[in-house]
Each structure stands twice: as structure tokens, then as C-alpha cells.
Symmetry: C2
Subunit: 704 residues, 2 copies
């Protein structure tokens, strides 16, 4: 646990109980008003710089088999305000220290007739509002089932939103940018096919939802600390422009089994008139509990390569043989099977990756498809799909362990579950023990396809609990977890920093499945990354996949320079260099940036930002004086103008600038880049053209 630098918590108890309460943020820019309507319905509203951001919005929960629910007939029985201010040090992060500073209002409500109490706790920061429901221990409210949470976010206008369609089983849609009023008509087009998906409404969207008002206010809606609760979507009433919470149901259609005392996750509204401040917000982390892991010395940022992109692009296969229509683990005899000749995870090939990682200073090598069962791994609702400890005949665990060790490289484990959560839990202890025994310190997990138990969803309460179970079990074995297809993060990495990565959005793999929009990476930091880092797997140098995988006609909608910038713009303590070795070997000068770039930072400065258009950020590598800058650009070519005033005054640095060539374009000329070195100081101003789907990356090293 990190020490608190400065912590103060001042509590004020009011004796007078009014029906309305006001709360202001520490610097006074935000004002939150809480009140009860005449029928005792709790409501809140939020102003930023005297502009209405959230109009009066209802709060409450609809319960199953409960006439009154927790919706109205409330009176205020207690109201407490407090101020909190502390600075804490994350184990890894965009910055070395984070200030957690807010004013708090906790309103205790009592429901007439039922004598049930709930607390609604508001925390108002200088970057926005968080609030949650709390269910204290009491006689009349012990166990209950949520039919639906009825939390509203009433918008003040027909904002522009960057949204993906609400879904119980996938987050991997491309973003659509539209007015709120246009969501309904664009919804079906926005729902591309996925291995698992279930929508619920034409105006349903996911969080984190990024919006911009006509008068230039940026508004982000999300949640924080999603623990033992169902994940929230938002459903829009597009007449009134009111979003309402829509929780992910379980197999019976229920939205949550609650036992008091407990709390809901925080509902968050991050607001600014400067888009850079949205990216800079630490509110989501601050609303999570402090680190619960006593000794965090084993948790380390990781830069890695791996046997992955070749399967994603169909160049090689996860499977070992084509002999069997279906696999029965422990019964199917692979030793007598005819190898299909395309199995990527073979010892000799993995050694090439270990050599490459060692030569270029990467920490780890991920290998997918190493274990038996990939021949029918997906789409069959197969319970016993993997055992996570039995390799294919051509993958020598011990040999590779020794070889990697001798080369100073760590193997990274892969646990695809195919959504069969019970099977994974059954094998978890043995699988983690196997990792400990064979030198694996991190695991990439996967949940492709519909969830087992049948009827459950990727984001229902019970499965949220599964992901959490895996993270906490991993702590016992000192294992870092990078979960793919799991629920979108909500800042839980503050509490469990062994969760060093998540996918939970449309990652680079979709560039091999038909492509993502060129401005995708200018939106993700405003949406998906609000909850925590993403294992986006950047670094693709060969945009024409067909060159090495003839059957795959998909193009990567990005310039090479944009791919380099992602290591800085897409913050993550876990970064992959995802492309094939042979593609990196073609561009050793550009590859140098991936080798050099840090994965842990002491400072981060968002220099330019507009969701959907561009992001420019500078980050200082932890424990050094070196800086790295990344700029990603959307579809329209643009000149980025930045000042390096964050550099130490009076010092000279050498900047290596990896930029789009003048004729670069994500579609027609993605590999055209330039590299130049210049001397810079804190007074240097840079002007740099970024192509369509392009960007630039800069490494800045102090001259000594």
C-alpha cells in the first residue's frame, strides 16, 4: 500500500434537515443540487461554470416483487458534508502522484411506510461529480433484487456524442459520432457482427460515453468501482434527452442480487470546457478504494511481443491439427494427430520471438495457441474447452522456460476461456500454479463467445464477480492479469494494480477483420480509457495484410507514424509490439521508437485534444528526464502546434521525431514516414503535419 502524502478529511454534520442540499466543488466551478420532489423522489442537478450540465434528474431503484421499490416516498433524515484531500502514489500510471480532492454530501433518506433507509453519497471534484447508492445494514432492507436502476442523466441539449450501441455481451463496436437525436436511426448500422452480442434498445449506448454540447462543454458519463453489481448501459429518451441507467440482466432478466450493507458503483459525470482536462481526469481512479495488495513489488509494467498477429490475420493458426471434428480434452490423442503445418505456437518459432525480444529489450513474449483444445475452441457452448496446463506436442514448456530465462525474457501466459467461466474457475489454481512453476508472471485472459453458464452475460453481476475472482486469485499467486473481452474497466486497477491490462473495446485485431475507423484512436482515450488502461496492441507496420496473409484483404486504417504514437497516446503499463518480426525488420529505424518508448510515467501533459479529431500528449518516463510525445490524428489532415515548455528550463535535449511523410495517408500511403533529430529546449515550439489517419511520435532525451 502506498503512503498518503497529505490526507485530510473534515466532517460537518448538519442538524437542520432541509429538503434541498447544495454542494460545491473545491475550486467552486461545479455546483450540485440535491432535492426531493413533492412525492419524495430524490433528484440531483449539476452546473459547471454556471451552465446546466445535468438538468434535474431522478434517482432510485426499481426492485423486483416490491410494490414500492426504492423510487419515492422518501424523506431526508440526515445530511452530512465533508471535505477530503489526499495525494496518493499509484503502483504504475500516467503520473507518479494523484491528488484526490473533493467535497462530499451524504444524504440519508427514509422511505415512508416501509421504514427503509438508503444513503446517496455525492462527491464533487474539480473535474466532475461521482455519486452512488448505499444500502446500510438495517432490519427492513436486507436482501433485495434490482429490477432496474432508475438513475437519470438529463442532458441540457442535443449534444454530439461518440457512442457505441448498448450491449450485454460486446464492447467491440466502432464508435459512431452523431447528435443524440440521431442515435436511434444509426443504431442498427452501428451494431456490426460480433462473436457474442445482445442489444436491448435502439437508443441504448455504453459508457464511458463522451459528449460535447453545442456551447463547447465536454461531458463524460461512466461508472467507477464496478464491484458485485451489474454493468450499466444508458438508455436515451431522445424526446427529452434524458439518459437512464439500464443494467445488464442475468439469466432470469434480473439486474442484481443485493445484500445490505452494500453500495452501488459510482455514477460519474466528468465535465470540462477543455477536452484535455477530460483525458487528464483521475476522478475514476479516485473513486476506487486504495490498493489492497500489501506487497506490490512484483507488479511491473511490461512491453512485449508475441505469437498473436499471425493468427489474427490468418497467416498461422491457434490449432495444431485438422484431424478431429471436435476435441475431448484428456481423451483426444494429439500425439498421433497429423500436424496441420500452420500451428504458430511451436517451440522453434517461439524461440525466434524470444530471440527478437531479447535482442530489442522487450520484457515478455506472449504465445497464444500453446495449449490443447483450439481446434473447436469457440462457438459451441463447450464447457470443458481448455485445461490451461496441457501444451500441444510441438510446444515445449520446460525448454521454452529455460530458453527465455537464459535470454532474460519472461514468457506471458495465455488463458482463453471461450466464455466458459465455470471451467476456468475449476482450473484456476492449477493453471496459476503451473505459471508459477514455469516462470510466467502475467496472463492474458480471454472470453470470446457467449458466456457459460448459459443465459448469463459478459457484463451481468455474476460474471463481473467472476472477473474479480480471477484478479483476486491472481494476487495469491503474484500474477498480473490482462483480461480481454471482460467488462470495461472502472478504475479498479487502483485497488488491484495487478490488473495491468484490459481489452474491453475494439482493439487492433479489428484492423485485420475489416478495419476500424481512422479516428478510432482519437476517441478511445475519451471513452474506454477513462476506466483504465487498454491492451490495444499497437505497432502495426505492414498495413496491407494480404502481403503476408494472402486470404486476408483487410487493411489497417492507420499510418505507420500513427502506430508509433499510440504507445504514448493510448496509456497502458502493458504495451505490445504486435506486428510480425519480419515487418519490424523492414523498418528498423521506425522500430527504434517502440524499443525506446517507456511504459511507466511520472508526468503526463495533454497538449492538444478533440475527441474524434486529434490527441497530443507528452509523458515523462518514470525515473528519467526523458519525454515522449504522441500525436494521433483523425481523418482530416492537420497541423499540430505544441510548445515543449514542460522540459526543464535551461537544459538541452535531443528530440527524434517520427512523423508522417508529406504524402502519407492511412489509405493510400500508410508507410510513408520521416525521422529527424533536432535539439530542443523548454522554449521550443513545434509545428508538425499529421496525415489523414496519421500522427507523430517524438522521443526527447536530455543531452549530457
Amino acid at each position: 500500500m502506498k503512503k498518503l502524502f497529505l490526507a485530510s478529511f473534515i466532517l460537518f454534520a448538519f442538524s437542520s434537515i432541509a429538503t434541498a442540499q447544495q454542494l460545491k466543488s473545491p475550486q467552486g466551478e461545479f455546483e450540485m443540487n440535491f432535492s426531493l420532489t413533492s412525492d419524495g423522489t430524490p433528484t440531483y442537478s449539476l452546473k459547471y461554470k454556471n451552465k446546466e450540465v445535468v438538468k434535474t434528474s431522478k434517482l432510485g431503484l426499481e426492485l423486483k416483487n416490491d410494490k414500492k421499490s426504492l423510487l419515492n416516498d422518501f424523506t431526508i433524515v440526515d445530511s452530512k458534508t465533508a471535505t477530503f484531500d489526499e495525494t496518493w502514489k499509484p503502483v504504475w500510471g500516467e503520473v507518479a502522484q494523484i491528488r484526490n480532492h473533493y467535497n462530499e454530501l451524504a444524504v440519508t433518506l427514509n422511505q415512508k411506510g416501509t421504514d427503509r433507509k438508503i444513503v446517496i453519497r455525492f462527491r464533487l471534484f474539480d473535474d466532475g461529480l461521482g455519486f452512488r447508492y448505499e444500502f446500510p445494514s438495517q432490519k427492513n432492507l436486507v436482501y433485495f433484487v434490482i429490477k432496474e436502476e432508475r438513475t437519470q442523466f438529463a442532458m441540457a441539449g442535443n449534444h454530439t456524442a461518440h457512442w457505441i450501441s448498448g450491449d450485454y455481451d460486446t464492447q467491440e463496436y466502432d464508435y459512431t459520432t452523431s447528435k443524440l437525436s440521431e442515435i436511434r436511426n444509426l443504431s442498427s448500422k452501428a451494431r456490426s457482427e460480433n462473436a457474442s452480442q445482445e442489444g436491448f434498445s435502439d437508443t441504448g449506448v455504453q459508457t464511458s460515453l463522451m459528449m460535447k454540447s453545442n456551447d463547447g462543454i465536454y461531458i463524460n458519463l461512466h461508472e467507477a468501482a464496478l464491484i458485485n453489481y451489474s454493468c450499466m448501459n444508458l438508455n436515451l429518451d431522445d424526446k427529452k434527452m434524458i439518459f437512464e441507467s439500464h443494467l445488464t440482466p442475468d439469466a432470469k432478466g434480473d439486474k442484481g442480487y443485493i445484500q445490505a450493507p452494500s453500495t452501488s458503483p459510482w455514477r460519474t459525470v466528468i465535465v470540462s470546457d477543455d477536452a484535455r482536462e477530460i483525458l487528464d481526469s483521475k476522478m475514476t481512479l479516485n473513486l476506487n478504494d486504495p490498493c489492497k495488495i500489501e506487497d506490490t513489488s512484483w507488479i511491473k509494467p511490461v512491453k512485449y511481443v508475441g505469437v498473436w498477429w499471425e493468427m489474427i490475420t490468418n497467416k498461422s493458426t491457434w490449432s495444431y491439427t485438422n484431424d478431429f471434428p471436435a476435441i475431448q480434452l484428456g481423451i483426444t490423442d494429439y500425439s498421433k494427430a497429423k500436424p496441420n503445418g500452420t500451428h504458430g505456437a511451436n517451440t522453434a518459432h517461439v524461440k525466434e520471438y524470444i530471440d527478437f525480444a531479447s535482442k530489442h529489450g522487450f520484457d515478455g513474449v506472449l504465445v497464444e495457441g500453446w495449449n490443447q483444445g483450439w481446434e473447436d475452441w469457440f462457438g459451441h457452448a463447450k464447457d470443458y474447452v481448455f485445461d490451461f496446463v496441457t501444451p500441444y506436442p510441438d510446444f515445449d514448456v520446460k525448454d521454452l522456460h529455460e530458453y527465455a530465462k537464459s535470454k532474460g525474457v519472461k514468457m506471458i501466459m495465455h488463458h482463453e476461456t471461450s466464455g466458459s467461466t465455470r471451467n476456468y474457475e475449476r482450473h484456476l489454481d492449477k493453471a496459476f500454479k503451473f505459471m508459477n512453476d514455469n516462470g510466467y508472471e502475467a496472463v492474458k485472459t480471454g472470453y470470446v463467445g457467449p458466456i457459460l453458464p448459459v443465459g448469463e452475460h459478459h457484463y451481468s453481476q455474476s460474471i463481473i464477480n467472476h472477473y474479480q475472482y480471477v484478479i483476486e486469485k491472481a494476487v495469491d499467486y503474484k500474477i498480473m492479469v490482462n483480461a480481454h473481452e471482460a467488462v470495461r474497466p472502472t478504475g479498479i486497477c487502483r485497488t488491484y494494480p495487478n490488473m495491468i491490462g484490459n481489452e474491453a473495446a475494439r482493439g487492433t485485431e479489428f484492423q485485420a477483420f475489416g478495419g476500424s475507423k481512422p479516428n478510432h484512436v482519437t476517441i478511445l482515450p475519451f471513452t474506454r480509457l477513462i476506466g483504465g488502461p487498454m491492451d490495444y496492441t499497437p505497432g502495426i507496420f505492414e498495413m496491407n495484410i494480404q502481403k503476408f496473409s494472402p486470404t486476408n484483404t483487410s487493411k489497417v486504417n492507420s499510418t505507420l507514424a500513427n502506430q508509433l504514437a499510440l504507445y504514448v497516446t493510448m496509456y497502458s503499463p502493458l504495451q505490445m509490439a504486435a506486428d510480425l518480426i519480419e515487418n519490424y525488420n523492414q523498418f528498423p529505424d521506425a522500430f527504434q521508437f517502440i524499443k525506446d518508448v517507456a511504459v511507466d510515467w511520472s508526468e503526463s501533459k495533454y497538449l492538444e485534444a478533440e475527441p474524434g479529431d486529434y490527441i497530443t500528449v507528452a509523458r515523462k518516463a518514470k525515473g528519467t528526464n526523458n519525454w515522449f510525445i504522441g500525436n494521433v490524428n483523425g481523418e482530416t489532415p492537420r497541423t499540430s502546434n505544441i510548445t515543449l515548455n514542460f522540459l526543464e528550463k535551461g537544459k538541452k535535449y535531443t528530440a527524434t521525431i517520427y512523423a508522417d511523410a508529406k504524402d502519407a495517408h492511412y489509405k493510400t500511403n500508410p508507410q510513408a514516414y520521416t525521422i529527424r533529430k533536432i535539439t530542443v529546449t523548454s522554449k521550443t515550439k513545434l509545428s508538425q503535419l499529421s496525415a489523414s489517419g496519421g500522427g507523430y511520435a517524438i522521443s526527447i532525451v536530455e543531452n549530457k
Copy 2:
């Protein structure tokens, strides 16, 4: 694995493929005919002694999202017959050796248009028919989902049946005896309240279903080897008197996820014109795989007492305190809680049971309510309900372990899961390790209340797999399992003899919940016990529960002599003496029978039997020359006439007869019994009156 005494397997392959096939039982009393209808639907029929038992009945499966299903358009492509004869030794059982002798017909069918193959395998024994579906490995049938199994059992008349209503979540109904045509009208009355229940039809019934035709043929329908498949109910077309299989659905309403190669469980039809032969049938065991446990030396029959009846009757409580509305394991602090003063599982009280067990030669002491969490254990869909390793403050595991060891008694573990199967699996390894560490060799498991994951059922495929997972995991720790509220057994104890007990029917506890019908125990051996032994927990001496638990007005509908007889008539290698110590101390002469009776047998002779009316059985204790006889009687008083011709000729024995007194009656005078000793030989004939709800028990010891 037990050695085979005699095994022969002769295979005949026919080259000529007819559209009809006939199979006869080894002794020729049964004739099974298989044929295809004109549209290629497979059918079978069964005759016994030239009487129609099953009229022409359809076979097949309806598949989900599959137009053709596996119902018709079949042609016979292969047909093989074989004869099998072996004798095997069960680890424990009613007899020391079991003959497995049948003629087999395996018909391979190919479906036109789809080119899919299934095999229907028939085994005809001298006591009935077993058949199953087999799905061989093939290209066109790999994964499929069962919408419904369409196996018919067309009855030849309006039989009398002993039935309980079909249900997905309980087997604990009292039996109703009626004509098949009367089931519909009696159905709702037959469905008493249960902690978990979900019916599906007014003519739905459970197996094992016991019937008797008007011309005196006894017919029993059940299943054998229920592994990785949903449990079968039967739904009656009461116009045509055709039963059809109705499988237990999962949370989505589907009936089974199948991957070829695999097989269905066996569907069984046990038939005789002598009711005793139904009880004597070993067909269900024979249709299961041989023992899969290499070393079975640790599996031993158990006679036990325990802290149980006092909670069932409300004399004491499982819970420790009344302080908390709800428990959070690991957070709720029991050390500061006020004890409720009624907690049964306290160290001092358990020691009384250990002393009692030691004094009277019992093997084990079961203690329920020893572990934290019982305050809100049931009915809240609570996920983390127990951890199975943390005792209440007043239960000293180490002390009791040492104390029991010093007294030569084994503690028996209790794992109530409250139906929260994921939670149980998460803790299973630690819980079993805890048992190993503390001298527990057997565990009673429980599944009270609706199943978690939500939407699943006690008898759906996924939960069937859970029970099997627990049994197989227990083998790793050399632990014997006695599962309550789990699926009704289907002979799997042959394969996994560590499954020494099951409840899976209305047990003695219901005598404290309002009572069971007095003839209940004359039906159970014809129904529930067809699949394997039951932990019925007999031995209640105080029928007026109110005497020791003032708030409980339920009466035990049985005489004391009937309770003694149950140790012989309700075969089980695990037998409890369920009553309170003080109640046994009142009747030391009757208690002697419970002390003497064996729990493992070399021979069993069913002397008299009529389902619903009476059962008389004599069993020879394994490894001795001693015999025990039990007779249970239904509502009508009756004189039982038996001959002891199973005794060794020329030898003299002393028989101690525990019988109903002349004025005994389950309702008005249940504790009236007589004990007399007489000398008997193989020529002795006994005539003994059994009261209403009564019976008798005899121990026979060779004079030396």
C-alpha cells in the same frame, strides 16, 4: 477395480440389414422388437412372457435450430447383436457379487439428406430392458443442442402408479398412488410446498416410476448412468397412455449441449410379475461403467449419529446468533456476537454425541451448523453463503478432532451449499483439504433452495455435471460423499462407490415438517432406491416431536418397530440413527437392534413385497453368518408369513424379534413394541403381525 469373475462377450455382425430387429433376453422371457416406420422413425416395443409391456413407441431427439432433428428419415445401415455375461463384486452393496448378463442389439441409423448417424443400443436382461442413444464421432453431427428428447414408453393399459409430480427442482414430494388416468386431477394436490420447485405439466411425473398393470405386471421406468446429460421426467399423454421423456431445461430452456462422440443415459424398463424381483433387480447398476477408482480401500460403510434431528425439529438451531440481519463472511465478526443459546453444534454437545457413538459402536458423528453463515443461509440467492472451513466460535475443530480420535469415532463433515454451486466449487479444494487435515472421511452435502447460477435447475445438465465434479474431486481427497437435494441416483455408485449416500427423495425430515404417508417406506425401495442407496436417516423413537420441541406439532407417521425395520428394508451403506440421545436412552432394548444391524451385505432375499403395502427382506451381514430381517407395512395391518430357508441347513440360530405390540398403530400408539428371542433354523416359519404404519425387525445370530 474389482476383478471379473466370469466375463464373456460374443459379438455377432449381421450382413443382412432388415428394417426390423428382434432381441430376446437370456432366459427368453423378454422380447424386444425394433423397427422403422414408413417415414423412417425408429420405434421399439417390449413383451414380457408374451404380454405387451411397452407398445410400439417412438424414439428420437428434437434438436434446436435444426429442421430435421433426429426424429425420422432414418435407414438402418448396420445392426449388431452380442451377448455379455460377467459377475462383478461391488465395493459395498446388498450382495457380494452381481451378475451382469444381457443380450445386446446395436442399430446404426443413417438419416437421409443429412448423412448423420446415430446408434440405438438395446440391452435385454432377464429383469428388463435398457437402451440409449449414441452419437458417434462424425463430420455432420458434432455439436448440437437438444430441444427435447422424444423417447416414448407406450403403456398397454391404465396402470396403477406410485408417482411424484415431475419437477425441475425437488424430488421431495409424498407419493400418490393412482391410476394413470387420475394423475392429471391429482397433480396440484400432489405438489406440496418445497424450498425449491418448478413443475411443468399436470401429467408430468418423475422416475423411477413404479407401476402395476391390471393383470399383475410390475413395470418400473427410470434411467441409468446419468452423466453429462439433463435428468429425465416423463410426461403422460393420458388419452393414449404414452409416456414421453421431458428433460430438465437450462436457464435458456434448452435441454442439453451435446458434443459427439457421446451417449445419452440408459432408459430402463424393469419388469416382473413378482414385485420382489423389481427390488432385486441389479440392472441399473449393471448399465453403469465398472468402478473407476483404483484403490477403494478407503471406502467403508458407515453407521452414524449426529447433531441434526434437533435442528430439523426446531429444538435447536443451526445458527449461532440472532444479532445480524445478514452475514458477510470474513466481515461479520462472530467473536463479538451474542450467542442465541440454541446453537446445536457446540463443542460440549458434540462431545456428548461422540461419547454416545463411542459407547454404542457407531462409526461416525455428523454435525450440521458447525460453520459460519447459517443465520441467513437459505432463500436469498446468496452467492458467498459458506466458506466450508470457518467454524463458529463455540465449535472447536481441533479439540473435537482429537477427542473423536481418542474415542475411536470419525467426525462426518457437513457442506450445505444452499444451491450456490459456483461458491462450492470455488472452495472445494480447500474444504476437502480441511477435511483431510482434521480427520473427516465423509461429507454430507446439501443443495437447499434455488440453484445458483440463476435459472439453472437442480436437475439440469450443467448442475448434473456439478454433482459429478464434486464426486470425482472427492476421489482425489479419498472422501466419501452423501449428497442431499442432488439429483436422484442412477447407479453411478457402481462407477464411483465413494458416493455412499444420496437423499434425492422425501426423507425422514418430512416427518418433522407435517409427516409423510405411513406407506411411504413401502414405496421408496420400488422408486427412489432403484437408482442407489438413500440416506433416509431412520431410527426415530419419539414420534411425538412436541415432547421435546414444544413448537413442533408434527407427528412421525411410523411405529417404533417400523423405524427399526428401515435399517434393513431401506438398503444403504450409510445409515444414521437419527433421533436424539435422550430418546434412545429411553428404549435401550429396542436401540440394541440399531447397534447390532449391519450396513454391508453378502446376500439379500426379498421375501415379500407389494409396493405401497409391504416389503420384507432378509440380508446376510458381510463376513458373518448373521442375518437381519426387516418388514415395513403400509396403512392396513397385515400378517407377514415368512420361511427362514435361507439359513444354513442344520445350524441353529437365535432370532431376536422386534415387533409391533398388538395394539400398536402409527397414529395412536407408535411406541408399542415387543422383543422376544427364539431359536430358529432353516425350517422355521414365522408369522408376524405388522401394525398400521408398522413392521418388524429381526436379528439372527448363529448359535456357537
